[in-house]
Amino acid sequence: MLGSIVNGIILGSIITLGGLGISYILLIQNYFNFTGGTFFTLGAYLAFAFLSIIPMGSFPVVSFGPGLILALILSMIVLAIIMTAVDKFLYQPLRKRNSPFMFFYLTAFGMLFVLRSLIYLIWGPQLKNYISGVRKTYHLAGGINISPDEIFVVLATLIIVGIVYYFQYYTKLGKAMLATANDSRLAEISGIKNKHVHTTVTIIAGVLTATAGVFYGLAIQLRPIMGFTLLMAMFFAVVCGGDGAILGTLGAGLIIGITQEFGSEILQVIFDSTGIPIEMSGYKQVLAFLLLIVILTTKPHGIFQGTFLER
């Protein structure tokens, strides 16, 4: 029971980072990025590709080494470049000719399949791991199994969210982004270059998405479909967080992570005791989807105080 709460927190941190990647695109460019989940997978696989060149090395406590950190940074850079290129080549013309938003969704949906098939073509459908061999795991009281890697993932997520928060609300570039999100024409009049803001947003989204993907690969494993299965949870984090507010997304990400792991276990116990033959382990995605529907019908602007613009 307690173990699944811990697993939920780990999953929730990963969902938070992926959700932030989607919410940045949503706030400045005004569309839900369906490709977010697949970029997430691509980021993780890019790090895997770099790790086959870079020697892993070793750190004292955790089971990965400095090689993974280097691969993570390289994967961030490459994914940010890929996402910027996609944005420049596909979305900028759409923005320029003032297309209706359905074109953005359609393009994002097309990109999803392009990237997914590329991942299948290059890396194949097998499961992969960054770390070969057995991981160090602590067995604590209450059935908690936690590895130092997972603690690293949670702590690093908190630090990254803190950095993003500081950048967003206390630096000039972050404030310029807020101004563009609020009223892009007014922002342009006051001297903010819209083009630069779009590029910055895409780069931030790329960095966050790549980090989320690598963390998923580190804490769980690499699968070609992993981002797509988390997509509903990421959208939940974005919507429930209050129009993509940064701290709200963290809270909502943790909520959905814990619900997927701990809530499904609780429901399993309830179903077993009442004799309903449902195996909950297959329905974690459905749980995220149902919660998303509940949030959308009751509180479509999130359950937390403040939004991205007005924290």
Binding site: L26, Y31, F32, F34, L90, P93, L94, R97, N98, S99, P100, F101, M102, F103, Y105, L106, T107, F109, G110, M111, F113, V114, R116, S117, L118, Y120, L121, G124, P125, L231, M232, F235, V239, P277, E279, G282, Y283, Q285, V286, A288, F289, L292, I293, L296, T297, P300
Partner: protein, 316 residues
Amino acid sequence: MIAYIAALLCMGSVYAIITLGYNLQWGYTGLFNLSVFGLAAAGGYTSVILTGATAGGRLGGYGLPFIIGLVGAAMVSGLLGGLIGMATLHLEFGFFAISTLGLGMTIQIILKNEQWLSNGVWGIGGIHKPLSGFVGNDLSNWVYGILAFLIMLLIFYLLERVVKSPWGRIQMAIKEDEKLTEMLGKKVFSYRFQSLVLGSMIIGIGGAMFAHYQGYINPMSYTDIMMCFLPLLMVVAGGSGNNKGSIVGAFVIWGAWSVSEMVAGYLPISSAKIPHIRTLVVGIVIISLLRWRPTGIIGREQAVSSTAKNKDIIAS
């Protein structure tokens, strides 16, 4: 070759039915419904459960006639579309797209997990083609193809009547200028809801026709690539908001898709990679169409609203 033409007639008509339903939602009303694969699967399974002769430990075995199966498929798919519409249709465009994608994934997960309903990943086999008892195996594809084509033509005729009526013009007006339509006193939500349910019913019929042609279905028969992405491409390629274009798009794209399968057999590529290469090509085609030719091959016939100055709005 002759057998291939029969197969093309069957699958092309099946896809044309699904594409017509999708075109009503996306091309006329502008609903970005991503649950096509779920709705088609719901329709297919409903029809199979209703018409199957034996159950074998799962729901079904009612042995009802084919036409009842189609009606049941339309009703179940329409109900699912209506449910998701009631929950999320009043929200923004993007929220609706997300929730429909979630609905599709949910239906697929349910079909995978619930063995009493769908026999899980093992699927259901031995589905009868209608009329195949009279003509034997050689001709059954031809008979079924002609039947599917006739059903498709009937749906096309009805849809043309519907979209040329005031109701259809309101749908186009909603897509082009939602606020203006609302100001004219039309209930936008209600019109959208009707379009969503009607389109879902047609998609359900298409899914059922697919199941009866294949003879065996499992949850993976209705993947998001084959049953959502491909119809989307057919709609966009034929020109959104054009029923004739949808039919042409369905036959052309399915023809290209099935020929690519045959061609790929001669290329020195491992067979595991071929489906992904085809998906890649389809994805690149759809993105390029949007980038350079948003009107599709044929394009929309007319725009009802003169306020729709933006060319893309008319085109989409």
